[in-house]
């Protein structure tokens, strides 16, 4: 795709110089030899491999554990940018939870004609068996990952909501660890807000939604499908960081509508389950009876109010791509004001006019399955082959209600280390939003995914995407670290002497103020 007119988050619109607030980063990129960047990147990736931060690619042998490529050039948001984003995210996630409490409760939004009833009631993600059950504090989606894209300095759009079991937060944390170790000078240049409070906030959130009567120290666990799952590293990482047990279904059983875990000291009662298993598999009595990943009776315990499931079952009805197109209306309905974060313009192929437009413009549009994820079941018109386009045309005509279409946006780019030096690559951004008894909280950071292939817009890790650290700044960029001072600290130290040396050089940099 044409990168002409694309907004680069560091360099702005098509200039070689960096935006003034990121001048220091521009210098850093220019002054650090590509070979040095590459060395650090390799070091980070080697560390990830050693930690076992791997994922399995679907359709490949189980043995093929890969790491997600890591890019050493960070992405930076200024404090005002982040503040604006946060407001929009809080508003959106509050609306998502209000929507879920409503559709599993009084269904006012349907009665008021804001959302077509069939999109909720005939949505495969809507769980009628759970209707009428309200979890503690009425919160269903305790952990949301909102995927954002950007097209200009102030133009952010929500691409997708993830209200089921969003993953990727371990990359936010591990990428930061790697950057702190390998590029300490960047943290001298920029006042970066820390992200490592996330596990504590998550633990607080889990405890805050414990069932009533579970005492001062509710027992929280992370429920994983097991170590063959592609996101297992993250499950174990989060359990570890929170200091709670990482359990599999076989460790739990339900008796008398109460959940217990099997320990060497005997059964221990469980109050909150951060489950990383899809709805369909969590309880064979209510959902997929073939599931061996689930715990029989878990839903009964949930409905009896004896255990809190995080996220609650049935949240998929809120992040469905068909519902997505109504999010601006949903936000307005519950918050009483316009959505601060707009959607990407979306054609609902279930509507005849939208379908006609989509079919006429397939080569310009991105077409997505309403119930697909991970970049599967998706057509990127501008880069697709004729055959792919025709295959989608047939699929669209056969089942239009399963698809939505969106224009291909000129996604912003961020300088990224490539085989031919640092070059712009398209990115998206997934911040993680926590909702608990104490309100909504956002850790200043997130997962930046980058499409490593030149011109590619697909950032999914399963399709060759990588990740970057996402730095949120506390205030205006430090003026003292002008290009001059920087050049001196960066000139030769860190490249020839390595990261350890550049740390000892830090006081020198400070002395130049």
């Amino acid at each position: 795709m044409d990168t002409e007119g694309t907004f680069d988050e560091i360099r702005g619109h098509g200039t070689d110089a960096a935006r003034p607030e990121f001048a220091a980063l521009g210098e850093w990129i220019a002054e650090t030899p590509a070979s040095e960047l590459e060395r650090r990147q390799k070091a980070a990736e080697a560390a990830f491999r050693q930690l076992g931060i791997t994922f399995a690619v679907y359709g490949e042998e189980e043995a093929s554990e890969r790491i997600i490529p890591f890019d050493i050039v960070p992405r930076i948001f200024t404090a005002p940018e982040w503040d604006r984003l946060s407001e929009g995210l809080v508003q959106r996630v509050e609306a998502i939870n209000a929507f879920l409490a409503d559709v599993y409760g009084a269904r006012k939004i349907i009665a008021d004609g804001v959302v077509p009833p069939e999109l909720v009631l005939n949505n495969p993600q809507f769980q009628p068996a759970l209707a009428g059950t309200q979890p503690p504090h009425g919160i269903f989606a305790h952990i949301c990952g909102i995927d954002l894209v950007r097209t200009g300095p102030d133009e952010f759009f929500v691409l997708e909501d993830n209200a089921r079991t969003p993953s990727g937060v371990s990359y936010m944390l591990e990428n930061r660890e790697a950057m702190l170790r390998l590029c300490p000078e960047l943290f001298e240049m920029f006042p970066v807000r820390p992200v490592d409070v996330y596990p504590d906030l998550l633990h607080e959130t889990l405890q805050s939604v414990a069932p009533r009567g579970s005492g001062l120290n509710p027992v929280c666990v992370v429920l994983t499908p097991g170590h063959f799952n592609s996101a297992f590293y993250e499950h174990s990482f989060l359990a570890d960081q929170m200091g709670v047990e990482l359990v599999e279904a076989a460790d739990l059983h339900v008796d008398d509508d109460i959940v217990w875990m099997r320990t060497i000291e005997g059964p221990v009662r469980v109050d909150v389950i951060y489950r990383r298993i899809d709805d369909d598999y969590i309880d064979p009595l209510v959902f997929n009876p073939e599931s061996v990943l689930g715990v029989p009776g878990l839903i009964a315990a949930y409905m009896a109010g004896n255990v809190t499931l995080v996220n609650a079952p049935g949240t998929g009805v809120a992040d469905d791509k068909a519902i997505y197109s109504y999010m601006p209306e949903i936000v307005r309905y519950y918050s009483g004001s316009e959505a601060k974060l707009p959607n990407v313009e979306t054609y609902r192929c279930r509507e005849p006019q939208a379908l006609r437009y989509t079919l006429d413009n397939l080569e310009k549009l991105v077409v997505k399955l309403v119930d697909g994820s991970g970049g599967y079941g998706m057509l990127v018109g501008p880069t697709a082959s004729k055959a792919e386009i025709e295959a989608f045309r047939a699929a669209l005509i056969a089942e239009p209600h399963r698809y939505i279409a969106q224009p291909t946006l000129a996604l912003s780019t961020v300088p990224t280390l490539t085989e031919s030096g640092v070059a712009p690559r398209h990115v998206d951004f997934r911040p993680f939003i926590l909702s608990g008894g104490n309100g909504v909280q956002i850790v200043p950071g997130g997962l930046t995914r980058v499409a490593l292939r030149e011109g590619s817009l697909v950032v999914n890790s399963s399709q060759g995407g990588g990740t970057k650290d996402s730095m949120i700044l506390t205030g205006p960029p430090s003026q003292s670290m002008g290009p001059g001072g920087l050049r001196q600290t960066m000139g030769g130290m860190s490249q020839s002497l390595g990261a350890g040396m550049s740390q000892t050089m830090r006081p020198l940099g400070g002395g130049l103020r």
Binding site: Q50, H227, E245, L246, I264
Partner: protein
């Protein structure tokens, strides 16, 4: 602690110990092979198969009994559950499932060892094998160190418990095979081959120097046996492993407030060990003694898994 976590840690301990033991055994066998004239050198590999209880399975594999084949079978063959690779696969699988219960350092040691072996399909002869074994021993040492630097709680205790049970089993098998099956017929006890055999045993449990310190009067089979069975000073002796099992169960019991069949059996074995002398052992039949020990060890293993609800 979750029962499944305890079970996995226990098995991580066992598998890492077994991988390291197999590595040492291969190292010692290469040494013996190079010291001995054929066909005695081949006998060295045969005995290695016997010690790891892999002789029958190797026969079934239909491969020729060459040193290279046996060495590869013990090192890399997936079909051999005691091969270094199989042990590391199992150790890493268990470790991965309970990643949160291990320290980063301990996990990294296992993962590194596993990565080092993952893509190898062959080893280039004796020197290659020795390099591999050397690396592996270093990782195993690293792991052991990491375990000792972990929090002193159930986590590290179950790891050590698995290692102690496995070590007891390995050492018992080693003595049993070497003592009874390996003296070639017609060789004089105390002859050259015999001496090499005994030195090999000591190498396998890295106790060459220890022997010299404990016994000043040269290499004698009964003393080697005594050291490996009854001397508590030697960490790999049956007595030391027996003590360790009792102590670890004790620590876990204090923490959980529960004791059971495993504690009882382990203490019983310790009492019997306290009363034993090498003369009685030899008089009653070394093979019988060791077989009984191996069976008893298995019973303790079973009792542990029941007591802590591993299944």
């Amino acid at each position: 602690m979750l029962s499944r976590t305890a079970a996995s840690l226990y098995w991580v301990g066992r598998y890492v110990e077994r991988a390291e033991f197999t590595a040492r055994l291969i190292e010692a066998t290469i040494r013996l092979d190079s010291l001995s004239p054929r066909p005695a050198g081949e006998g060295a590999w045969e005995s290695a198969l016997l010690v790891t209880a892999a002789n029958h399975a190797f026969t079934l594999s239909g491969e020729e009994r060459s040193p290279a084949n046996v060495s590869r079978y013990l090192t890399l063959d997936h079909r051999n559950p005691s091969s270094i690779r199989a042990c590391l696969d199992a150790a890493r699988g268990n470790a991965r499932a309970v990643r949160t219960a291990l320290s980063r350092e301990a996990w990294e040691a296992i993962n590194r060892a596993w990565l080092g072996l993952r893509d190898r399909s062959f080893v280039s002869g004796g020197p290659g094998t020795l390099t591999l074994v050397e690396t592996l021993k270093a990782e195993a040492r690293g792991f052991e160190g990491a375990v000792h630097r972990m929090l002193r709680n159930e986590g590290s205790w179950f790891l050590m418990l698995g290692a102690a049970i496995e070590r007891a089993d390995n050492t018992a098998r080693l003595i049993d095979v070497k003592y009874h099956l390996l003296l070639p017929e017609g060789e004089m006890v105390g002859g050259v081959i015999d001496r090499d055999q005994w030195t090999t045993i000591l190498h396998t449990v890295s106790a060459v120097n220890a022997y010299r310190l404990l016994y000043r009067d040269g290499l004698r089979p009964a003393q080697v046996a005594e050291m490996l069975i009854l001397r508590r000073e030697l960490p790999r002796s049956l007595a030391a492993s027996t003590d360790e099992v009792v102590n670890l169960l004790n620590l876990i019991g204090k923490r959980t407030g529960r004791q059971g069949e495993a504690d009882r059996l382990a203490r019983q074995r310790q009492n019997a060990m306290n009363r034993a002398t090498i003369r009685n052992v030899i008089a009653g039949g070394m093979h019988e003694y060791l077989s009984a020990f191996i069976i008893e060890n298995g019973r303790i293993d079973q009792a542990i898994s029941q007591q802590f609800r591993f299944a």
